[in-house]
Symmetry: C2
Subunit: 329 residues, 2 copies
């Protein structure tokens, strides 16, 4: 059994420390708390997300994906604010007794920390605090980012007449999970990648500053998340179902109706849902194209509250996607 | 079953929002992330702590104490840095199915949130983010404080010749747990209070800025924590065992030898362990007295690494305190 501090030092500290000094970290792990130097003129934006085994991811998910995913879902909240990610803290609860021997524990922790840390590096995020405790597998990640004062994207700025748009494509998270539950284990399958290794849209969030009137990330499913945005902004929405960009391989895997349901209410996509004045669409699309990312208009905000499909299809038909609950294998 | 957002709003949001605006919070819970305004000229100090049922506290611990304690142990890390606490985030994982009915769930959550929030208020700490997930009871708390640039207390500044001192009294955490395990449930017993409702020494940490050469909080037990401080500062220590202040009621509850063992290696005390130049002792004691808190010298830092008792008693005899592991009822 490894002690907490050894664990943190061995799996989570070393390469971080190289970049720490240049990222506003005065004192890293090893003291009671870490000292950080926020940037003057920026607001700090913070969020916490917990990923629990059998609730948010299957018990047999690859350790690399568990680490990547736990951080990705938290970073996605910073992306939705238009923030740059700077620091994170990780509270890992896991049960060493679950593993056959120390070697198995080591293999799992190595893969887990590689998944977590490679995403840290990709987004220049320094792990500045950690806690390792014994118990059922669960990862709590606190992320801290910065955004110039007044530039943050929120859920409350959408106006009637604004376009509704999404980055990337939808349904991949739910589609990948559906494949996983059918026994698919090929991690290179595009849908599996979308489910296991979601990519937080941080660069897109920054690019949409000053253009999007409202933004949030799609974690619970387009319709559920759009409901939050509509409520905060006090607008309604008309959705063009045929415009919704479907994730690569989704139609083939699920068929037309289930694919649309996955895109509308499957969740786990971690794309951005934004609203913007029609005059800003082209500029926003140009900026995202330079990031290799599509921005697709899927509807428009209306004064009449509520949500409808432009072709009058009943959206209730697509709300019944079965979310992962751990009751399935 | 209550949905996450309803839970957070119902139990954790309302009275917080009144004070939020005056505490640097631009945008509270309800968006993807919260926007905070750090104070110019201050460093941000952050830490995360997880409290897991059956590992860090007994399953039957009062809900009020579970909430209080989860935050207290995290705040204690800020106290050890000499920081003022400003914000916190709480990731609560709990299993609604554990409760007999919605009324029992409500009762538990009410008491839990009262425990958490009353300590927030006591230390002017605003809950700025939360996540509620389903699973075995566990609370991850991220705390964020501020300290003027250069004023933070760390573990690494102790010098040979410095005095070693502790705030308050020791052994109460372990003594209270020992009583709990014997079936004691009177929460007004002084030892039980110390175990169930530890008080993070935030005001003492601030008062010791500029006086303490090193500081940390005592969570794992005096000897274990002193070992971390010695290692970081590269000093040894000589301890006067008869000087160690024992928590009220500890001698009566455990007898002399067990009481000393509880104080030396019991843990869960959340007092501050500090070193300071002898010239600063009186000033430091005066400041703490004004907070109603004793600062007791228990030894001195030496050049020779390692730790010894001044009367040559074998400290190994006191290292074997049985920490709570959940295997006991």
């Amino acid at each position: 059994m490894l002690a907490e501090f050894d664990l943190i030092r061995r799996y989570f500290m070393s390469p971080q420390e190289v970049t720490a000094a240049s990222n506003g970290v005065t004192l890293g792990s090893g003291d009671d708390a870490t000292l950080l130097t926020p940037t003057v003129g920026q607001q700090l934006t913070v969020s916490v997300d917990t990923s629990v085994v059998d609730v948010h991811f299957p018990r047999e998910a690859p350790a690399f994906a568990v680490g990547h995913r736990a951080l990705a879902v938290a970073l996605s909240d910073l992306a939705a604010m238009g923030a740059v990610s700077r620091w994170c803290l990780m509270a890992l609860t896991f049960d060493q007794r679950r593993f056959a021997d120390d070697q198995a524990t080591h293999a799992w922790l190595s893969d887990y920390s590689r998944g977590f840390r490679s995403l840290c590096q990709q987004h220049k995020t320094v792990l500045v605090g950690g806690d390792v405790t014994s118990g059922a597998l669960s990862i709590g990640v606190t992320v801290m980012g910065e955004v110039p004062i007044g530039d943050a994207l929120t859920r409350s700025g959408a106006k009637a007449g604004d376009l509704i748009a999404v980055t990337g494509a939808l349904g991949g998270g739910a589609g990948g999970l559906a494949l996983w539950q059918k026994g698919e284990r090929d991690e290179t399958h595009p849908l599996m990648r979308r489910y296991l290794l979601p990519e937080p849209r941080l660069a897109a969030g920054v690019a949409l500053r000053g253009l999007a009137t409202a933004a949030m990330d799609i974690s619970d499913g387009l319709l559920a998340d759009l409901a939050h945005l509509r409520e905060r902004s006090q607008v309604g929405a008309v959705i063009e179902l045929d415009s919704i960009p479907l994730a690569e391989g989704l139609l083939e895997a699920l068929g037309e109706e289930a694919a649309l349901a996955a895109a509308l209410s499957g969740g786990d996509d971690y794309e951005l849902l934004v609203t913007l004045n029609p005059n800003n669409l082209e500029k926003a699309q140009r900026r995202l194209v330079s990031l290799g990312l599509a921005l697709t208009v899927i509807g428009r905000c209306s004064e009449t509250l509520g949500v409808n499909a432009s072709d009058q299809r009943d959206l209730g038909n697509y709300a019944g996607w079965q979310h992962f609950s751990g009751e399935t294998p």
